[in-house]
C-alpha cells in the first residue's frame, strides 16, 4: 500500500469518526436557532427558543442550582484533592499505591454504581436527599481529578522546598501554605476547572441523590420524560455543549501556553 493511500485511509477514518460524533450536535445547534416545534423543521431563523429558555423559570432555577452546586463542590474538591495529593505524594511504597488506587476508584467505577452506592449510603445515614447529598456526592466524584492535576506539580517541585521553609523558621503549616501551595496553584486551577465542568455535566449520580433539587441535566431528563422533546431543550443543550467546550478549550490553551513558556526558559 502506498503511503498516500495509507494516509488517505487514516484521514477518512478520523473524518468519519468525528462526523458521527459531532454532526448530531451540530444539527442540534443549527436547529436551536429556529422556533419550529418538531425537530428537523426549519421555520426561519430566530432566537425564539433562547428567549423562551431565559424566561422559563424552572430552567433558570435549574441553571442556578447547577452553577451553585458546581461552584461549591469544586471548591471543596480542590481543597480536599490538593491536601490528598500532598499526603499521597509523601507516602512511601505500598501505602502510596494503595492510597492512589482508592482515590481513583470513583473515577474508574461505572457511574451508575457510584450513584447507587451514594443513594444507599445516604439512605443508611438517614440523610435526606437534596443540596447536602448533592454537594457531598459531587465533591467525591470530582476530587480524584483534582488529585490527578495537582500530583504532577508536586513531582516537579525542587527537592527540599518544604524543608527549606521549615529550615528558615516556618512552622509545618506555614511552610505548606507559603512555600508549597504557591507552586501548586496552576495544578489546583486546572483541577478546579475540571471539577467544575464535571459537576455541571453530571447526570447519573445527581439523579440518584438530588431529591427535589433539579440541576440542568436532571431537568433536561425530567422534561424529556414528562413532555417529550420540548423545543427549548435544543437551546439548552446547545448552551451546555458550548459552555463545556469553551472551558475545555480554555484549559488546553492555558496549559499549552505554559508549556511554551517553560520551553523558552
Amino acid at each position: 500500500m502506498s503511503k498516500n493511500v495509507k494516509n488517505g485511509l487514516i484521514w477518512a477514518f478520523v473524518g468519519v469518526m468525528l462526523a458521527v460524533m459531532y454532526i448530531p450536535i451540530l444539527i442540534l445547534i443549527i436547529y436551536s436557532f429556529t422556533g419550529a416545534k418538531a425537530m428537523g423543521v426549519w421555520s426561519g431563523f430566530s432566537f425564539e427558543l433562547y428567549a423562551d429558555l431565559f424566561t422559563n423559570e424552572s430552567i433558570m432555577n435549574a441553571f442556578k442550582n447547577s452553577l451553585v452546586l458546581a461552584l461549591v463542590s469544586s471548591l471543596l474538591s480542590t481543597v480536599l484533592g490538593t491536601t490528598a495529593a500532598v499526603g499521597i505524594f509523601y507516602m512511601r511504597k505500598w501505602k502510596k499505591s494503595a492510597a492512589n488506587f482508592i482515590a481513583n476508584i470513583t473515577m474508574e467505577n461505572a457511574e451508575i454504581v457510584t450513584g447507587v452506592t451514594f443513594m444507599m449510603f445516604f439512605l443508611a445515614l438517614r440523610l435526606p436527599y437534596g443540596w447536602v447529598t448533592l454537594i457531598i456526592a459531587h465533591t467525591m466524584i470530582t476530587t480524584p481529578y483534582v488529585i490527578l492535576s495537582v500530583t504532577p506539580k508536586l513531582a516537579q517541585l525542587t527537592p527540599n522546598l518544604y524543608e527549606a521553609g521549615l529550615d528558615l523558621g516556618a512552622s509545618p503549616v506555614r511552610s505548606m501554605l507559603t512555600v508549597i501551595v504557591p507552586q501548586l496553584i496552576p495544578g489546583m486551577i486546572s483541577g478546579f476547572v475540571m471539577a467544575f465542568a464535571l459537576s455541571l455535566d453530571d447526570f447519573i449520580v445527581s439523579k440518584f441523590v438530588n431529591g427535589s433539587v433539579e440541576t440542568i441535566p436532571v431537568y433536561l431528563y425530567n422534561a424529556l420524560a414528562k413532555r417529550g422533546a420540548d423545543p427549548t431543550l435544543r437551546a439548552l443543550s446547545s448552551i451546555l455543549f458550548v459552555a463545556v467546550l469553551a472551558v475545555l478549550i480554555a484549559l488546553n490553551v492555558i496549559s499549552a501556553k505554559r508549556r511554551n513558556r517553560n520551553i523558552v526558559k
Partner: protein, 509 residues
C-alpha cells in the same frame, strides 16, 4: 562564664551515640562526634555512607532512632527544625521559585523573633519582629557579601547555577544561625565554578565566624576547605581529624583509599619499627603491634623513589602517564602493582629499583582479619547465617538450635555472578585494590557485611551470590559476657587530637 573554659571545651554541637534506621537498614550507626564553635567540619564519604542523614538529623529533618544531639549543651534531639537556630544550604538550593531574590532572602528574617531587651509583667522577655527597613538593610548586606548586590529584584528562575548557589547561602546566613549546614552545595556546579565557590566559602567562613558543617563526597574539597574532616562509611565514623592528619596518617585502609591516591598493601609487623611486605623488610616509624601481626599499610605514590641502579625492591614499569607536573607510573614489584609518581619518566618495560623511606610507610591495624558472624545450627550439618543455610563440618557435635559464631577467612568466601548460584545474595558496596588482589565488601540483605579477598574485579552495586566451602567454615560456640552481650572484636581508635569517634560495631539487637 569563664572565657578560658569556653575556648577549651566549647563544643557547639555534640552528637552522642546517634543511630538512624530506615526500614531495617542502618544509615547511621552509633556515631558520636563533637564540633567546636567556629570550626569548618566536613563530613566526607562515598554516597550512601550516612553523611547526609547525619546532617539531616542535625537540621531536625530526621529524628535519630536512638542517641542524642546537643546544641550548646541543650538537648535538641526532638526539637522540630523550624525552632532550631540552624540553617541549611541544600544540594539543589531549594530556592522558592515564586519569590524573587529579595523575598527569598527575607523569608527567614520575616519569621524571626528577636528579644527587645524588655520583659513583661511575668518577667518573660518580650519579642518583636524585624522592621521592613531592618530586613531591607540585612538583605542588602548579605547580597553584598555574596557579590550579588544588584540582584534583589531578579527572578530566581533566570539565575545561573552559581548565582542560585550564592542566593541559597545568603538566604541561610542572613538568619545568623549558630550552625550552617551545607549539603553538597557545590555538587551541581561545573568544575571552574566549584573551585571559585570553594575559596569563596572558605573566605566567608573566616569572615562571619559561623560554624560550618559541610557534606561532600569530594575528598579534595574536604581537604582544602575544612579545619576538620570526618571520614564516614557504612554509617560509621572511620576517622575524625585535621585534613593533614587524615592524609598522612589514615586510620585504616578505607580512609587511605578514599583520601588521595595510595598504594594499600598487606604486610606483617616483624617487630617494632620493622615491617615486611613484598618479601622484603622495611624500616618504618610505627610500633606497638604484636610480633607477626598482620597489618594494612599505605604508601603514597609520591613517597616511592625510583632508581635505575639500586633500591630495596626490583620492579618493572608497566605503564606511564604524564600528569602535567609529574609522571604517574604503574610498576610491578614482587606480587604488587605500585602506583608511583615521579618527575622523571621511566618508560614502560624498563627495569627499576624502588625505595621507600620509613616516613613514607604508614601502618594501620587491620579492621577485621576474618569474617565473623552469628548463626544458629539448623541441622546436623547446616548453620543459618545472614538468612541462608550454609553447610559446615560439624566436628564439635552441635545440636539443632545451638547459637554459634561462624568465622570465614576473607579469601575463603566465594562470590558468584549469578545470585542464584550462591546460598545468599548480597550487594557489592566497596572494592579496594590491594596490589595483587581486590578486597571486596558486600552487604547481605539482612544488613551484615562480608569482606572477600579475590583476584576478580567486582563493581560497586553488583548483585552477587555468596558461597562458602563447608570445610572453610570455622564454627565455635558463642561466648557471652555477663550481661549477655556478644563479644565482638575491638574497634580501632586513633590517637591524637580527636574529639571523639564513632564505633565500629554491628547492631545485633
Amino acid at each position: 562564664m569563664a572565657t578560658v573554659a569556653r575556648e577549651k571545651f566549647d563544643n557547639i554541637i555534640e552528637i552522642k551515640n546517634v543511630t538512624k534506621v530506615f526500614d531495617g537498614i542502618t544509615a547511621v550507626d552509633n556515631v558520636s562526634l563533637s564540633v567546636r564553635r567556629g570550626e569548618f567540619v566536613t563530613l566526607l564519604g562515598p554516597s550512601g555512607c550516612g553523611k547526609t542523614t547525619l546532617l539531616r538529623m542535625i537540621a531536625g529533618f530526621e529524628m535519630p532512632t536512638s542517641g542524642t544531639i546537643l546544641l550548646e549543651k541543650q538537648d535538641v534531639t526532638t526539637m522540630p527544625p523550624h525552632l532550631r537556630p540552624i540553617n541549611t544550604v541544600f544540594q539543589k538550593y531549594a530556592l522558592f521559585p515564586h519569590l524573587n531574590v529579595f523575598k527569598n532572602i527575607a523569608f527567614g528574617l520575616k519569621l524571626k523573633k528577636i528579644p527587645t531587651g524588655e520583659v513583661d509583667k511575668k518577667g518573660r522577655p518580650i519579642f518583636r519582629k524585624f522592621t521592613k527597613d531592618e530586613i531591607a538593610e540585612k538583605v542588602e548586606r548579605v547580597l553584598k557579601l555574596v557579590n550579588l548586590e544588584a540582584y534583589g529584584y531578579r527572578d530566581i528562575t533566570g539565575l545561573s547555577g552559581g548565582q542560585q548557589q550564592r542566593i541559597a547561602i545568603a538566604r541561610a546566613i542572613v538568619c545568623e544561625p549558630k550552625v550552617l549546614l551545607l549539603d553538597e552545595p557545590l555538587g551541581a556546579l561545573d568544575l571552574k565554578m566549584r573551585k571559585e565557590m570553594q575559596s569563596e566559602l572558605a573566605a566567608m567562613h573566616k569572615n562571619i565566624g559561623i560554624t560550618f558543617i559541610y557534606v561532600t563526597h569530594d575528598q579534595e574539597e574536604a581537604l582544602t576547605m575544612s579545619d576538620k574532616v570526618v571520614v564516614m562509611t557504612d554509617g560509621a565514623v572511620q576517622q575524625y581529624g585535621t585534613p593533614k592528619k587524615i592524609y598522612d596518617e589514615p586510620a585504616n585502609a578505607f580512609v587511605a583509599d578514599f583520601i588521595g591516591e595510595s598504594n594499600i598493601l598487606s604486610g606483617v609487623m616483624k617487630k617494632d619499627f620493622l615491617v615486611e611486605f613484598c618479601g622484603t623488610q622495611f624500616k618504618c616509624l610505627d610500633k606497638g603491634f604484636e610480633k607477626d601481626e598482620k597489618v594494612d599499610l599505605v604508601v603514597r605514590p609520591e613517597d616511592i623513589a625510583i632508581s635505575a641502579k639500586s633500591g630495596a625492591l626490583a620492579g618493572e614499569v608497566v605503564s606511564t602517564v604524564f600528569k602535567g607536573t609529574y609522571y604517574e607510573m604503574e610498576i610491578v614489584a614482587g606480587d604488587y602493582q605500585f602506583t608511583v609518581q615521579n618527575t622523571v619518566e621511566y618508560v614502560a618495560g624498563s627495569k627499576v629499583w624502588l625505595t621507600i623511606e620509613p616516613d613514607g610507610i604508614h601502618i594501620m591495624k587491620k579492621l577485621k582479619t576474618v569474617n565473623e558472624l552469628d548463626g544458629e545450627v539448623t541441622s546436623e550439618n547446616t548453620v543459618e547465617i545472614c538468612g541462608g543455610e550454609f553447610e559446615f563440618e560439624n566436628t564439635q557435635n552441635f545440636e539443632r538450635g545451638d547459637e554459634v559464631r561462624v568465622c570465614v577467612p576473607f579469601d575463603k568466601v566465594e562470590l558468584t555472578d549469578d545470585e542464584e548460584d550462591g546460598v545468599i545474595g548480597a550487594n557489592v558496596t566497596q572494592t579496594l585494590y590491594k596490589g595483587s588482589y581486590y578486597q571486596v565488601q558486600v552487604y547481605t540483605d539482612d544488613d551484615n557485611d562480608f569482606l572477600i579477598d579475590t583476584v576478580d574485579e567486582w563493581d560497586i552495586g553488583d548483585r552477587v551470590g555468596i558461597k562458602i566451602n563447608p570445610k572453610d567454615m570455622v564454627v565455635t560456640r558463642k561466648q557471652t559476657t555477663i550481661d549477655g552481650e556478644t563479644v565482638t572484636d575491638g574497634e580501632t581508635v586513633t590517637d591524637g587530637e580527636i574529639d571523639s569517634i564513632g564505633e565500629e560495631g554491628e547492631t545485633d539487637e
